[in-house]
């Protein structure tokens, strides 16, 4: 579906169902830097068909959403609340991947009454980005897309054996970033690089937290995810073997099932 937020069209995948806020719990899925809501394509329909209002959103300037991309994690979090206001959703579970996990943490802390729990995938309290990668994102998107894909996918997906028949994950990941609007990836990487609040906020987050980490994740290694998990008051962590940073694509059914367990 498409709605207007701040006068710009926002693209949201609902897994083939209309919103039913009164009878179903809601899950908001937030993608990572330079990507869009299609990264959740193997969770959206699965969860929607099991009785969850799924909102796999494209952040402003990403995917099929209009508008300029937002400059900081804080701005992105405010935008998320605006989106929920517009949809008149008062209680939500937020799942965020990478940059999306930082947005989830920020929103969970600042809007305790609205955010029931959070699911963090490919997360860490700090996400420092090498200046050369930011430079590449600004000047040569192809280099940045290749590096991010190389570091994001685990060993298995460097050879292939994609769970989706006929799909080549390396190509898909590179092209997803290549199709992003000029400057969007760089903005997102800068926002991740500059965000230092996760640890502080995590200490005061009362809600239930699930961290899903990929054993072969080079972007946000298991070690860093574990460190963050110990800061939350109420956190479970699951490590997926044979997956890297893009675990929702690398082991889509496992991730979908873990998400489902947060509801029922």
């Amino acid at each position: 579906m498409k709605i207007l937020v701040n006068n710009y069209k926002v693209n949201i995948r609902t897994g083939g169902y209309n919103l039913n806020k009164d009878k179903k719990p809601t899950l908001l899925l937030i993608h990572g830097a330079g990507m869009d809501g299609t990264v959740w394509q193997m969770q959206t329909r699965f969860l929607a068909n099991k009785g969850i209002n799924v909102l796999a959103v494209d952040l402003p300037g990403h995917g099929l959403s209009e508008g300029p991309s937002l400059k900081s994690i804080s701005e992105m979090s405010h935008w998320v609340i605006k989106l929920l206001d517009f949809l008149n959703i008062n209680s939500v579970v937020i799942a965020g991947h990478s940059m999306g996990s930082l947005i989830s943490i920020e929103t969970a802390k600042n809007y305790k009454s609205r955010v029931k729990s959070i699911i963090l995938l490919g997360t860490a309290s700090l996400m420092p980005v090498h200046p050369d990668l930011i430079k590449a994102a600004k000047n040569d998107l192809s280099i940045a897309a290749n590096l991010i894909t190389d570091w994001s996918l685990g060993k298995t997906q460097h050879i292939g054996n994609n769970p989706s028949p006929g799909a080549w994950m390396i190509g898909g990941s590179i092209q997803l970033i290549m199709n992003s609007i000029k400057g969007v990836l760089a903005n997102d990487l800068i926002a991740c690089n500059e965000y230092k609040q996760a640890s502080n906020l995590a200490k005061n987050i009362e809600q239930e937290v699930l961290i899903i980490s990929g054993q072969e994740d080079k972007m946000t290694p298991v070690k860093k995810a574990k460190e963050l998990s110990t800061i939350f008051k109420n956190c479970n962590m699951v490590v997926i073997y044979d997956a890297g940073h893009m675990m929702m694509m690398e082991d889509p059914t496992k991730v979908a099932q873990l998400m489902y367990k947060q509801f029922y």
């Binding site: 590096l147 190389d150 050879i159 054996n161 006929g166 799909a167 059914t253 979908a256």
Partner: protein
């Protein structure tokens, strides 16, 4: 800064898409000779049908052996995904039927395989899909033929049988400006010699039967999508940008992003049209694909020597091979095909059609048959075989001369190939 460390071409041609089978340790790709797959439970069945999770339902739609081939081809082309089909023609039709509707128009090169020319000229118009053919030598010819209802530009990387090298870079500038997808048939070049996505193409198709399988034992085709074309930037592709009633009103681009075309082709095209590749053929094609790089090096090396030999023969009127310095496509072939301009060349023997026929009848090692890209050397006379359905006018417009002989140079010892040609040429000149 460090650079990305992906596996390279030779490695991918052997490994992409497959790890040793976790249950048996089988190193070779197992042949999943099965029509269907047992569901875990009713929920699992429902979720597979609803495209909620990946997996296999029925081998017409997808099959694990075929999927290895598809993924490997996508890896070698640098695409997002691929669909293997029963033949190259099935791959072409699958793409057309997915992107087109009644009233759609295609701009196609006139230097293409006779079968493709036939479907565009005679079959598709019956369904309201028309084509304008253009001479591919001048990229602006494609631009001039674009109409309001044009939805696709199509050409072959090396034209069949004229062996003209397509100026993909300049044509892709035109297609991008017109916001139209650009599909190329890369059968003659294979991803080893050219990766059309890097040059600006959006969709690549192959007849896998040829160099990729490489041994003349299995028919197959494939479509690979680059994921580069943004379908919603135009209103010409409702099959990807509007709800599809046949599948729970899915909007393929919204749901699957860069995989939209492949997903629609699988969910609709493979399901409805049914031109699937058998797992056994996929296995045979994979065996060929494993050695593609080494075979292509030998094919190209032999083709160059054959071209040079023919070029120096008094009995030969003309030789068309882009890697020859006197060829009109020499410059562009050096740029786009630095590893060589493939292994198919054409030539005309003095004495016209009669001499051409005699040549064909007097080859011994080279086989007279309707195929290219076999490890063995093949010869044919297109005007009387592969392109015989084309009218005299169409043949003329496509530059197919009566005395044109097409040779697909194999990987035999070069001295044996040349000896065979020498004897056949000599015989062709006898009264």
């Amino acid at each position: 800064m460090t650079s990305s460390k992906f596996y390279k071409f030779n490695t991918l041609s052997l490994h992409a898409g497959q790890e040793p089978d976790p249950k048996t340790g089988s190193r070779a790709v197992p042949i999943h000779q099965t029509s269907s797959y047992v569901f875990n439970d009713t929920d699992h069945a429902a979720s597979l049908y609803n495209l909620e999770q990946p997996g296999y339902i029925y081998s017409r739609i997808s099959n694990p052996t075929v999927a290895v081939l598809e993924e490997r081809m996508a890896a070698l082309e640098g695409g997002v995904g691929a669909i293997a089909t029963a033949s190259g023609m099935a791959a072409f039709f699958l793409t057309i039927a997915t992107l087109m509707d009644q009233g759609s128009h295609i701009v196609a090169s006139n230097s293409i395989y006779g079968g493709t020319h036939n479907i565009l000229s005679y079959t598709l118009p019956r369904f309201g899909i028309t084509t304008t053919f253009v001479d591919p030598e001048n990229p602006n010819n494609f631009k001039d033929a674009i109409q309001d209802n044009t939805r696709l530009i199509f050409a072959e990387t090396i034209g069949n049988p004229n062996i003209n090298v397509l100026d993909i870079e300049n044509i892709s500038r035109i297609t991008k400006e017109a916001n139209l997808p650009f599909m190329v048939d890369s059968t003659f070049t294979t991803p080893y010699l050219m990766q059309p996505f890097k040059l600006g193409a959006d969709i690549v198709m192959h007849s896998l039967t040829k160099f990729i399988a490489g041994h003349g034992i299995a028919i197959g085709g494939v479509v690979v999508d680059s994921g580069k074309f943004i379908w919603s930037k135009t209103d010409k592709f409702p099959n990807l940008t509007k709800p599809y009633a046949g599948y729970d009103n899915i909007v393929f681009e919204q749901e699957f992003g860069v995989n939209a075309l492949i997903m629609r082709m699988r969910a609709e095209g493979m399901k409805d049209f049914g031109a699937c590749l058998s797992p056994m053929n996929a296995f045979h094609i994979l065996q060929g694909l494993e050695t593609l790089p080494v075979r292509m090096d030998r094919h190209v090396e032999n083709a160059q020597q054959v071209a040079e030999y023919l070029n120096n023969c008094e009995e030969i009127e003309w030789v068309n091979y882009p890697s020859l310095k006197n060829n009109k496509n020499y410059k562009i072939s050096q740029k786009l095909l630095p590893k060589g301009a493939g292994a198919i060349l054409s030539f005309g023997i003095k004495g016209g059609k009669k001499a051409g026929k005699k040549f064909i009848e007097n080859t011994t090692l080279s086989s007279h048959l309707a195929n290219v890209g076999d490890a063995k050397t093949l010869v044919i006379h297109p005007a009387s075989t592969t392109h015989q359905q084309m009218s005299e006018d169409a043949l003329k417009k496509s530059g197919i001369k009566e005395n044109l002989i097409r040779i697909s140079v194999g990987i035999e010892d070069i001295s044996d190939i040349i000896s065979d040609l020498k004897l056949a040429i000599k015989a062709s000149q006898r009264e």
